[in-house]
Symmetry: C2
Subunit: 144 residues, 2 copies
């Protein structure tokens, strides 16, 4: 299960993707349209900003804009930022590799072996699906 926070982050970014290009959205607008608690959304957008995914303007007429085109932002990137590693085992994580304390030999670890297959499949999807892809798939009725 992904966290509520990650879900909010994805929805906020989708809202920004769908907004007219170059227009900026205020926290309050996104909060209202997406039903996300305002103060919580504040934190989330701040993290996205620090990660270089969005940028903000303060003061009257402030708000948030995407810093990169929507096809250069992947689901995987956002998920890792908010929820941490995608991998189901620490010894399979790209961003936070940690040896399993009690596993003598990774190469012969059956569990690792099975989950290596899982994480590969996950990455296949998450690291190759951009927000542009997601919006496109949502707009056109999916025929697959």
């Amino acid at each position: 299960m992904i966290s509520q926070k990650a879900k909010y982050a994805l929805r906020a970014l989708l809202a920004l993707c769908k907004a007219p290009p170059e227009a900026s959205l205020m926290i309050a607008e996104i909060s209202k349209s997406q039903a996300i608690p305002k103060k919580f959304l504040e934190q989330i957008l701040l993290e996205l900003k620090r990660a270089g995914i969005v940028m903000s303007r303060r003061g009257r007429l402030g708000g948030y804009v995407l810093l990169r085109p929507a096809d250069k932002i992947t689901f995987g990137e956002v998920l890792r930022l908010i929820d941490g590693p995608i991998a189901p085992l620490p010894c399979l994580s790209k961003i936070a590799y940690r040896r399993c304390a009690d596993c003598q030999d990774e190469a012969s670890c059956e569990i690792r072996h099975v989950f290596a297959g899982v994480v590969k499949a996950q990455r296949e999807v998450l690291d190759h699906t951009s927000f542009a892809d997601a919006v496109r798939a949502g707009r056109v009725p999916d025929l697959s």
Copy 2:
């Protein structure tokens, strides 16, 4: 990330799979050989028993045995039992479907659409990998 508890459960079952057929293993043995806290392992094996995956005998010479052949127990089954739903969103879970509170229309939800791809891939692996498969892959050097 799967929980520590799930990792223990998988390791315990692997130990039972590798034990001589019809032999039973005591909690203390598994605990020692797999470096799992004994009292915690006790809980875990109890859950596996209630789920019909293993059976136990009490008293002197007690212990645990697999209730089903190793090729009839999948990783997915054990994971769902210990950690709950595998699906990354409640609205994609087989065993615990829940509508996302704030999602008007599931069919047009971009997030759901993307994660449907993820969960499909996960299930492909987890529900089709048995403990027999895992042990086999661990024994023979993997050439893939």
